[in-house]
Symmetry: C2
Subunit: 180 residues, 2 copies
């Protein structure tokens, strides 16, 4: 799925700026399953405006740079729906962590320990973030997604905690400077 669709989807919940969309996709509600940077979002919004799928309104602000607020047009809403009607490609997950895990035998135990603990901490932080989000959001589909994400995170974390030591045991013991 491309950034355009992401923008349309986000705008279907209300007006927003490119800045808002980026924040949502890297920190907010959307961040669990998409990711986009300015360099992708701004050109995408330009294109969408050119195709009359969104409108732009410049909100001049005092002291801060002016916001370009985008809103979905009827045509844009139709485009979004028709894009969501065609078959979705399967979920894809990229995990350097699992690649590292697979190579456990080549790595010093300290590295495995550190990688695991870091990952667990990351998930904990994310989970907390999620639960705070779910409370101040009463959009039903969003809650459905947040509940899903929360469950997946919890499951992941529990597995990592429960199987932490088993993985570490597979590493190379105390072979000091295996690094670099």
């Amino acid at each position: 799925m491309n950034v355009s669709t992401l923008c349309l989807a986000f705008l279907s919940f209300g007006e927003a700026s490119g800045y808002d969309i980026r924040k949502a996709s890297t920190e907010g509600n959307f961040s669990h399953f998409v990711d986009a940077s300015y360099g992708a979002i701004y050109p995408a919004l330009d294109r969408l405006e050119g195709d009359d799928l969104v409108t732009r309104r410049v909100e001049v602000q005092d002291g801060k740079p002016s916001r370009h607020v985008y809103a979905l047009t009827d045509k844009g809403r139709e485009a979004l729906v028709s894009q969501l009607m065609e078959p979705v490609s399967p979920d894809k997950m990229k995990s350097e962590f699992l690649l590292l895990t697979l190579c456990a035998e080549h790595l010093p135990q300290e590295r495995l320990e550190q990688a695991l603990d870091q990952r667990i901490a990351e998930i904990d932080a994310l989970t907390e973030d999620l639960s705070s989000k779910s409370s101040d959001c009463n959009h039903a589909p969003s809650q459905w997604v947040i509940r899903f994400a929360t469950l997946m995170n919890r499951t992941k974390r529990d597995y990592l905690k429960a199987n932490r030591d088993a993985l570490i045991a597979l590493g190379k013991p105390a072979q000091s400077a295996a690094a670099e």
Copy 2:
């Protein structure tokens, strides 16, 4: 993580051809957390050979095209380890399905139903595939990863099954030709 690292990691388990690596990354053991195509793998192997991280041996076959079998060198193994020693970036998941889910309100119920059922079927197929894989593999770290993936899949599927109807209820009822 780039394709080069993936190749090194795969070769750390034994000799393999580009074809093998691609199969592993799209169908096999690796497919849960990476994905790579020929267009990425072959050039990567070339580069690795140029850097003396792998060696190439051409195996002429009768009837079939000859296999280029690659093997990790000591330098290659070192490179792999040093790459796995530096910080791993967080897991990323891309899901068009969740984007669709988020837009449930704009979509006809039939679409949601179909998307959910398709996803559930996909996961079932994948799970079966995984369990068959785990039996004929006695590499401990691989089993650790496979068990992890299996658990995640089961959790995902259970959530989708349990919350299927709740999501469908959020869609637009029977508004026949909402789809273009």
